[in-house]
């Protein structure tokens, strides 16, 4: 299995010896040895043609490339911080825009969020990564890891949300009132609420997009 290693906080080094791993299209900054890069086809994200159609519809299209060969590949994206997450049979839900690399034992699939994504700029769908292996996600600034315990729900800003894993139920809270309607809102009209047992990753920056409330 490829070895994922961080050099500082913003550069990922992956050692491969004949294996392959997947990385965000165009995220290679350097490599040593013999490595080939090939963009994955539309159906490569799993789920066959139906999966491809889902990704197209939802805009949750992570454009990934296969990196195969022998050597060390250096991966980075927009000087964002990179975090490694080990998966051992669990499922991690992550925003496609925050996914930068994954080892071969990890599968990805698109899950619909419903309408809430459109209003929050978070996208209509989220990516579910499952299997055994390592996942590298990017965050704008150092990642904040928050634990959710039963009876202690956690609310996060959808624009700062990056990923979550564990036994969590997710719902969407709106706090829209007459102030919001006349443009005097607090900027915190939508929240994502997590209940159950698990871990939520957020970033100390709010991504742009969606309806500004």
């Amino acid at each position: 299995m490829p070895t994922f290693r961080l050099n500082g906080t913003r550069l990922l080094e992956v050692d491969i010896a004949g294996e392959s791993f997947r990385a965000l299209n165009g995220s290679m900054v350097a490599y040593t040895g013999q490595v080939q890069f090939k963009k994955q086809g539309a159906t490569a994200g799993g789920g066959g043609l139906f999966g491809a159609a889902k990704r197209k519809l939802s805009g949750e299209s992570v454009s990934l490339m296969d990196c195969t060969g022998q050597g060390t590949v250096y991966i980075a994206n927009e000087a964002q911080e990179i975090n490694l997450i080990e998966l051992a049979g669990e499922t991690l839900f992550v925003e496609a825009s925050n996914l930068v690399a994954l080892s071969s034992g990890v599968q990805t699939e698109v899950k619909f969020n419903g309408l809430r994504g459109m209003t929050t700029g978070q996208g209509l769908a989220t990516t579910a990564a499952s299997g055994n292996g390592t996942l590298a996600i990017t965050t704008d600034g150092p990642a904040i890891v928050l634990e959710v315990a039963p009876g202690q729900p956690l609310c996060v800003d959808p624009q700062a949300y990056v990923a979550h894993k564990g036994q969590l139920q997710q719902d969407f809270i709106q706090d829209v009132n007459w102030r919001t309607a006349i443009g005097q809102g607090s900027g915190e009209s939508f929240q994502l609420r997590f209940q159950g047992q698990g871990i939520v990753y957020i970033q100390p920056a709010e991504r742009q997009g969606g309806i500004d409330l």
Partner: protein
Amino acid sequence: MATLEKLNSKMVAAQINHGEQVFARKGAMLSYTGEVNFIPSTTGGASIGGFVGRIVAGENVPLMIAQGQGNVLFGHGGYQVKIIQLDGANSLTVEADKLLIYDGSLTAGTQFLAQGGGVRALAQGQMTGQGLCTTVLSGVGNAVVMSHGPVFEIPIGGGEVAVDPQAYIGHVGAVDVKLDMNVSWRDAVGKGSGEAFQLKMTGNGTVYVQASERKIK
């Protein structure tokens, strides 16, 4: 030789004494104390031939000369800075847009990065968006480069090191650089991996890489 000091990850201070000069990217001065003059420089310390080279190569990031007596703070665009010391034995090849300042004791020149040079190199530079004509600094002194995110050093020696032209900052040492095009029908139909162009480096030295593919303006 002016004394350089890195104040934090994004600022560098230069102590200039009488008779010393520091070449800097135009407008990169943040503040200064003492009696310092800033004079626009068209040639960047290169000869007339080098100047023409700079124009042809598209390497003409405007420069200025700081001279006098005082302490000058330099920084640009919130990019991170790194001081590279040259001992005279090896020269530094660096992208002009990633060069913040360099000591007047260094000699500057322009070089075509791609093998063969000429029109073909220019065409290649256009395609990769890198310019592919770089500034070469030689002599004894310091140079300061800028990067989006921190600078990473990858040693070259033995095997080949390939670098994304957009992440490439510069390199030091006896290094051979070759532009490798790996363009297939996939790129032509917009289905490329985004890694069609690479700078292949062999020899002995160090290459400096930024953790981003953003172009510094």
